[in-house]
Amino acid sequence: MCVEYKEILSQNDGYRLNVYAVERNSRSRVLESIDSLTQDKKDEVINLLQKMAENGTEYKSPKVKWRLAKYSYGELKPHGHRFFFFVKYNDNLIFFDYEEKKKGSLKSDIYKRLQTEMKYYEREFERFISGNKENL
């Protein structure tokens, strides 16, 4: 599996955190999901991501859980049935997956699977960062 980290927002542009979207085998569920939103919802998500990047974990929103109770990743839920998942790694926010559910909340199996996924993406990100440092 080929994993890449696409930088959406950067500290170089004055943000407190860098924001990345995971791309797996040349496809990013996160970016594709943002792209598939209606213009209004897209604007909302874009602004929420900017607020998170600007303010870091001090930013409070009913739509952002910086860390879920039983897991080591967070959730951005702009609407009842849309879920973006991220992990904070030092000064980086890595959006690694997206889920959708028509009604109610997601099943715990999904959250458990995401926890495993998150660990994998975190490890890969460490390599990505160290690779970038070597290239500098």
Binding site: I8, S28, E32, Q39, N47, L49
Partner: protein, 153 residues
């Protein structure tokens, strides 16, 4: 969905780098509002139930307001703000900029006149600026001592 992920990434990156649209600015204000309310609630230890009592609304209504009410009305914003003890006001970047200019002018004037025991009268500035709130009551005249100047700004 875009067929080419590179194009999609470039397109999304371009949106983030562009000047915000009116709709994005509106979302920004709504998000700032909730950030302020939630921060106040946390600092003052106000629960959602207490907020319901303070606003005279049901818990379900408060949950709705705090969870999925993107088009919250200005009236509801003021009600929520009141109930956590903060005052909302509308301002503009232009007003804030002219306030800054006012304070800069005021600061220069204060620094120029700050000698031991000099009474600095700033009421004319305040009138010029049509300055409101407590500053007007409290700052018509200020007695400054030399050593105070370091603490003023």
């Amino acid at each position: 969905m875009k067929e080419n992920s590179k194009d999609l990434y470039q397109e999304i990156k371009k949106i983030f780098n562009s000047e915000p649209t009116s709709n994005q600015k509106a979302w920004g204000l709504i998000h700032d509002f909730y950030h302020i309310i939630l921060t106040e609630m946390e600092e003052k230890n106000i629960s959602r139930s207490e907020l319901a009592v303070k606003t005279g609304k049901s818990k379900a209504m408060i949950s709705k307001l705090l969870n999925n009410s993107p088009n919250i009305s200005l009236k509801k914003m003021v009600e929520l703000a009141d109930s956590v003890g903060i005052e909302l006001k509308i301002t503009t970047t232009q007003i804030e900029k002219s306030k800054e200019q006012f304070f800069l002018k005021y600061k220069q004037e204060l620094m120029a006149h700050t000698t031991r025991g000099v009474k600095v009268v700033i009421s004319s500035y305040i009138e010029d600026f049509n300055f409101s709130c407590n500053e007007k009551k409290n700052c018509n005249t200020i007695e400054l001592k030399e050593e105070d100047s370091a603490y003023v700004w």
